[in-house]
C-alpha cells in the first residue's frame, strides 16, 4: 500500500460541519457523505491503492465548483478533483481528509465552431464524446488515449494525455486552445481562447499536465481537425519481441511517420483477441498495428514502403485491413487492451514510461529478464512509434506478497527507462504511482522549482496533494517563493 499523509485531525473532527457546509452549496444529490456510498469512490483505475474520502461533491456548474473551492479553502480542507476515475497512476486517489470534486455532471458540449475549427466543452465530456459530436461534419478531436471511450477531457488536460494517434497529431497540449479554471480560493479565470498561443506567459502550458494540483478545469476549448480522406491499418506478426522492436526502430528511422504504430506481445494479443475478435495473429510472439492515412494512393504507397521494411524482419504474416469494420475491430482490441488483461490475470499494474525507440529491443529484453527474476508475468502493449511503453505487470491482489513484488518490478522498469535516456511517464501522469520515483529523474533543485509553481497557485497545498512529489517533499512547508 502506498503511504498517504496522516489526515488532519481538525478536519476529521469538523466532518459534520464541513458536510453541512457543502450541502448548503449544492443540490441534494450533489453531496455524498454516507460511509457506504463513499466506498466506491475510494479508488480510480489504479485500484490497488484505496482511500475513502471525507466526502464527494458533484457540482454541475463552474460557479458551484468555485463555491466549493472557496469553502474548502476557507476551512483548510484538501480537495481531490476527479473525472471518469480512469487514471492508471492514481491521479484521483482520495485522501481521508479530502473532499473529492467529481466533475462527471459537467458533461455538456457548449459550442462547436467549424469555421474556426474548435469546440468548447465541459470537463466531464468524454474524449470520444467530442469526436462523436463533430463526426457528422467530418471532424475529429485527435488525441485518443486508449480509455477514450470513458476518460474525460478535464482529466486529459490534467494528465496531458496522448494516445495511439499522437505520433502524428501530438498530445493534448498540442490540441488545446483555452481553459476556464477555478483556483483554490474560488476565483474563476479564463485562459487562451479561439486562437493558438495567447499573449504573455504560456499559462496553458503550465496547466496542461499539472495533475489537478494548480486549479480545477471547468471548461476546455479544443482544436478539432478535419478527418483524413481515409485510413487503413496493417497487422504484422513477428517471431519475437525484440525482432518487432527492431522493426519499429527501422520504420521510424526510415523517416516514414505512420499515423499510429502500436506494439503488442503474445499475452496481450490473446487477451485482446478474446474481447475484440479482430483476427489478431495468435501464432505470433509480437505484433505491430500500423495505420496510415490519406488518399487511397497515398495509403497504398505508405503501406508498400512500410511493408517492405517489415519483410526484412522475417514476419510470420502481414495483413492489411480490408474494411472499415475490420479496422474498427482492430482498434477495439488495442483500445480495450488493458481491461482485456483482466481475462488472464485478476490484477495488473500498468506502467507508463518513455524511451528512445532505438533502445526498444534492449529494453524489451531486459523487461523479459526482470519478469523471470520477479516471477511475475508481463504483457507488453504500447505506443511503439513514440517509444511510450506500457508493460502490464500481472499479479494477484488477494496475495499481498505478489503485489509488493509487482510494485518493485514496476519501479525497476521505470528506472530502466530513465537509465536509457527516457522518462518516467509518457501520458498517464505521475499521480501517486510514480511519485516516489521523481527523485530518480529530477534532482532536488529541479523539484524545488516545480514546487514553487505549485505554491504560487495553491499556497496551502490543498489541491491534490500527496501526488506527483515525493511525500516528504510534498508535505514539507512550502519552499520560499523566490530562492
Amino acid at each position: 500500500m502506498i503511504d498517504l499523509p496522516a489526515p488532519n485531525p481538525a478536519t476529521l473532527a469538523a466532518r459534520e460541519r464541513i458536510v453541512a457546509g457543502l450541502r448548503a452549496l449544492l443540490p441534494e444529490s450533489g453531496v455524498i457523505a454516507e460511509a457506504l456510498r463513499l466506498k466506491p469512490y475510494e479508488a480510480d483505475g489504479l485500484s490497488a491503492y484505496r482511500q475513502v474520502p471525507l466526502a464527494v461533491v458533484l457540482p454541475e456548474t463552474t460557479e458551484q465548483v468555485a463555491s466549493v473551492l472557496r469553502f474548502c479553502h476557507e476551512n483548510g480542507v484538501r480537495v481531490v478533483p476527479r473525472g471518469a476515475g480512469t487514471s492508471l497512476s492514481g491521479g484521483a486517489l482520495p485522501l481521508a481528509d479530502a473532499v473529492v470534486v467529481g466533475l462527471m455532471r459537467m458533461n455538456r458540449i457548449l459550442a462547436i465552431d467549424y469555421a474556426d475549427r474548435l469546440a468548447v466543452v465541459e470537463p466531464g465530456v468524454t474524449n470520444i464524446g467530442i469526436t462523436e459530436a463533430v463526426r457528422g461534419a467530418g471532424f475529429f478531436y485527435a488525441p485518443d488515449p486508449s480509455s477514450q471511450l470513458a476518460c474525460m477531457i478535464g482529466g486529459n488536460v490534467n494528465m496531458n494525455s496522448g494516445g495511439a494517434h499522437c505520433l502524428k497529431y501530438g498530445v493534448t497540449a498540442n490540441n488545446l486552445l483555452g481553459l476556464k479554471i477555478v483556483t483554490i480560493d474560488g476565483e474563476i479565470i479564463e485562459i487562451g481562447g479561439a486562437h493558438l498561443d495567447a499573449a504573455g506567459y504560456d499559462w496553458l502550458g503550465i496547466l496542461t499536465g499539472s495533475e489537478g494540483q494548480l486549479a480545477i478545469v471547468t471548461e476546455v476549448t479544443v482544436r478539432i481537425l478535419r478527418g483524413p480522406e481515409g485510413a487503413r491499418a496493417m497487422l504484422v506478426a513477428f517471431r519475437g519481441n525484440e525482432i518487432a522492436g527492431a522493426c519499429v526502430d527501422a520504420i521510424i528511422t526510415s523517416g516514414i511517420i505512420p499515423v499510429a504504430l502500436e506494439f503488442m506481445d503474445r499475452p496481450a494479443i490473446h487477451a485482446c483477441e478474446a474481447f475484440a475478435h479482430a483476427g489478431y495473429p495468435l501464432d505470433a510472439e509480437a505484433m505491430l498495428i500500423i495505420e496510415v492515412e490519406g488518399s487511397i494512393a497515398e495509403q497504398d504507397d505508405l503501406l508498400a514502403r512500410i511493408g517492405a521494411i517489415c519483410r526484412r524482419f522475417d514476419p510470420i504474416s502481414l495483413r492489411i485491413s480490408q474494411s472499415a469494420e475490420e479496422s474498427a475491430a482492430i482498434w477495439k482490441g488495442r483500445k480495450g487492451a488493458f481491461g482485456a488483461i483482466g481475462r488472464i490475470s485478476p490484477d495488473y499494474l500498468c506502467m507508463d514510461g518513455t524511451i528512445p525507440t532505438g533502445r526498444l529491443p534492449e529494453v524489451l529484453r531486459r523487461i523479459g529478464e526482470m519478469s523471470e527474476s520477479y516471477g511475475l508475468k508481463v504483457a507488453n502493449i504500447f505506443h511503439a512509434g513514440d517509444g511510450n511503453l506500457h508493460p502490464l505487470i500481472m499479479f494477484d491482489a488477494n496475495d499481498p506478497e505478489s503485489f509488493h513484488r509487482a510494485e518493485a518490478f514496476g519501479a525497476d522498469i521505470l528506472k530502466l527507462c530513465v537509465e536509457v535516456g527516457g522518462c518516467l511517464t509518457g501520458e498517464h501522469g505521475v499521480g501517486v504511482e510514480k511519485r516516489d520515483l521523481m527523485t530518480v529523474q529530477f534532482n532536488s533543485v529541479e523539484l524545488d522549482q516545480q514546487r514553487r509553481i505549485k505554491t504560487a497557485f495553491d499556497p496551502d497545498w490543498l489541491l491534490n496533494t500527496a501526488k506527483v512529489f515525493p511525500l516528504t517533499a510534498a508535505l514539507a512547508p512550502a519552499v520560499p517563493h523566490a530562492a
Partner: protein, 443 residues
C-alpha cells in the same frame, strides 16, 4: 480486483461465483461510459463499476442489504450495455442477479414498494389477469388527477396508468397450445414461447411469427404448460417464482422434445430470450434431470432473427419504399449479442434501415423498470425518441415488446421486426405500416 471473502463464505457456491466475477473486474471504468444511468446521473454510484463495488462490499460484509445499496441497484436497468463494453468480460448480469436475490431476502422495502412489486409479479406473468388489470387501468385513467402528488407511489401509479394502451387488442386464440403445421413439406419443428404480457399487448406478434414460420416450412408448437419465461420475477430478485416459471417451460418443452423432437425454441421477445438462454445457469445447482434439461433447452433457444437467418428468409413482395429506424433492444444487442441479424433481415426484406445515434443506450423500458423508476425511464425515452426522429425514418422497428410499448408515441408508429418480415413474405400489412403511410397518401 481484490476481494475479501473468508474461506467460509467461499464455500457457498453462490458466493464463489460472485467472487469469480468480482475478481475479473479490473476497475478500469470503461463500462461507465455506456451505462445509461451514469450518463444521465453522473455519479459513480449509478455506474456499473460503482454498483459492482457496492455489491462487493455488501456481499463481503455478509450484512443485510442497506437502503443505499438498494437505491443504486434498483436504478440499474439490467440493460447489460456494461457487458458489451467491458474488455475484461465481467459477468455483470449474474452478479446483479445475485445482488437482487440477496436484497429480496435481506431487505425490507417500504410497504408501497413491496405491494407494487408483489402486484406486478403476480399480474404481469398471467395474461388473463394482466388483461383485466389493463382494462381496469384504462377505466381509471380519468382519475389520474387524483395522483397529482409528487411521492414515489403517486408517480409510479401515474406511470402505470399512462402505460395502459388506450385500445386493447381482442384476445387471440393463436397462443392456445397446439401444433401449427408447416405449409408444404416440413423442414423443421420448433416450439414458440408464446409469452405472457406480449400476447395481451400485441397478439399480432405471435400471429405473424407463426404465419411466417409455417410458410417457410416450419412446424410451430405452442407447448401445453409453457408460459412466462420467468424474467419478470427474476429481475425483481424473486428467485423462487422465477424458477417455478422456468421449470414449467423446461418441462413443457422437454416433453415436446421427447414427443416429436425440437430443432429450436423460438423467442420473439428478446427480453425473454436472454432469460431462456440462461436457464442452464439458473438450474446449474438443481438435481437431475432438471439440470440437463435446462441446459438442453438453453442450448436450442434462439431469437426469431437468429432462426430466420439460419433457415434463410426471402421476401415475395416488392420493396415498400419505407425507411425504418431500427431500435436495438438491449436484450438483443447486449444480452444476446445479436446485432447484425435483424438489420440484415430487414434490409433483405426491402426496407431502408436507419440506425439512430446512441443506439447502445436503453430506451428505459427494461421490463418493469418504467413502472418502478418512472423518472429515469422517461428521460431515457425522450432521449431515445429524439435520436430516432432525427433519422427521418417512417416508423420504428424493434424485436422486443417492452421497447415497443415504451416507444409508442404519436410521432412514429412502432412495429415488431417479425411483422415486417411476415408482411414482405406474403403476410398482411401491419397496422403500424398503414399508419405510417397514411399521412403520405393524404398529400
Amino acid at each position: 480486483m481484490q476481494t475479501n471473502f473468508t474461506p467460509e463464505q467461499l464455500r457457498d457456491p453462490e458466493i464463489a461465483v460472485a467472487n469469480q466475477i468480482l475478481r475479473t473486474c479490473v476497475h478500469c471504468g470503461f463500462c461507465t461510459a455506456t451505462c445509461p444511468t451514469f450518463v444521465l446521473l453522473g455519479d459513480e454510484l449509478d455506474s456499473p463499476r460503482g454498483r459492482i463495488y457496492l455489491i462487493k462490499d455488501m456481499l463481503e460484509s455478509g450484512r443485510p442489504a442497506s437502503e443505499e445499496v438498494v437505491r443504486h441497484v434498483d436504478r440499474c436497468l439490467s440493460c447489460l450495455a456494461c457487458m458489451t463494453t467491458c474488455p475484461s468480460g465481467v459477468d455483470y448480469m449474474h452478479l446483479v442477479d445475485h445482488a437482487r436475490a440477496h436484497i429480496e431476502e435481506t431487505y425490507r422495502r417500504p410497504w408501497h414498494d413491496r405491494a407494487l412489486r408483489a402486484l406486478l409479479a403476480r399480474v404481469l406473468p398471467r395474461p388473463r389477469l394482466f388483461r383485466a388489470a389493463l382494462i381496469a387501468a384504462r377505466l381509471a385513467r380519468p382519475l389520474r388527477f387524483l395522483l397529482a402528488g409528487k411521492g414515489v407511489l403517486a408517480r409510479r401509479l401515474a406511470a402505470m396508468l399512462a402505460m395502459a394502451p388506450a385500445r386493447l387488442p381482442a384476445p387471440s386464440p393463436i397462443e392456445r397450445p397446439r401444433a401449427h403445421p408447416a405449409a408444404g413439406p416440413r423442414r423443421q419443428r420448433v416450439a414458440l414461447l408464446a409469452g405472457c404480457a406480449q400476447q395481451v399487448l400485441d397478439p399480432e406478434i405471435n400471429a405473424a411469427t407463426i404465419r411466417l414460420l409455417t410458410r417457410l416450412g416450419v412446424e410451430v408448437v405452442v407447448a401445453k404448460g409453457a408460459g412466462c419465461c420467468g424474467a419478470l420475477t427474476h429481475h425483481m430478485g424473486k428467485h423462487d417464482d422465477a424458477m417455478e416459471a422456468a421449470r414449467a417451460n423446461i418441462a413443457a418443452w422437454s416433453h415436446e422434445i421427447e414427443a416429436g423432437g425440437l430443432d429450436a425454441v423460438i423467442i420473439n421477445a428478446s427480453g425473454c430470450g436472454t432469460t431462456v438462454k440462461d436457464y442452464g445457469f439458473m438450474f446449474r445447482g438443481e438435481p437431475e434431470p432438471w439440470r440437463a434439461r435446462a441446459a438442453r433447452i438453453a442450448a436450442i433457444a434462439l431469437d426469431i432473427s437468429e432462426f430466420l437467418t439460419r433457415i434463410g428468409y426471402r421476401p415475395t413482395r416488392e420493396p415498400p419504399g419505407l425507411t425504418l429506424a431500427y431500435h436495438a433492444a438491449c436484450s438483443l444487442q447486449h444480452g444476446q449479442q445479436i446485432t447484425g441479424e435483424p438489420k440484415a433481415l430487414l434490409r433483405a426484406a426491402g426496407f431502408t434501415v436507419a440506425e439512430p445515434a446512441e443506439g447502445h443506450l436503453c430506451c428505459g423500458s427494461a421490463g418493469t423498470y418504467n413502472l418502478m423508476q418512472p423518472d429515469i425511464a422517461t428521460r431515457l425515452r425522450t432521449r431515445k425518441l429524439a435520436n430516432i426522429v432525427a433519422t427521418g425514418a417512417d416508423l420504428i422497428a424493434a424485436g422486443n415488446i417492452g421497447c415497443l410499448t415504451q416507444l409508442a408515441s404519436d410521432t412514429l408508429p412502432v412495429v415488431h421486426t417479425v411483422q415486417l418480415l411476415d408482411w414482405m413474405a406474403g403476410g398482411p400489412e401491419p397496422a403500424a405500416v398503414t399508419k405510417a403511410r397514411a399521412p403520405r397518401l393524404a398529400h
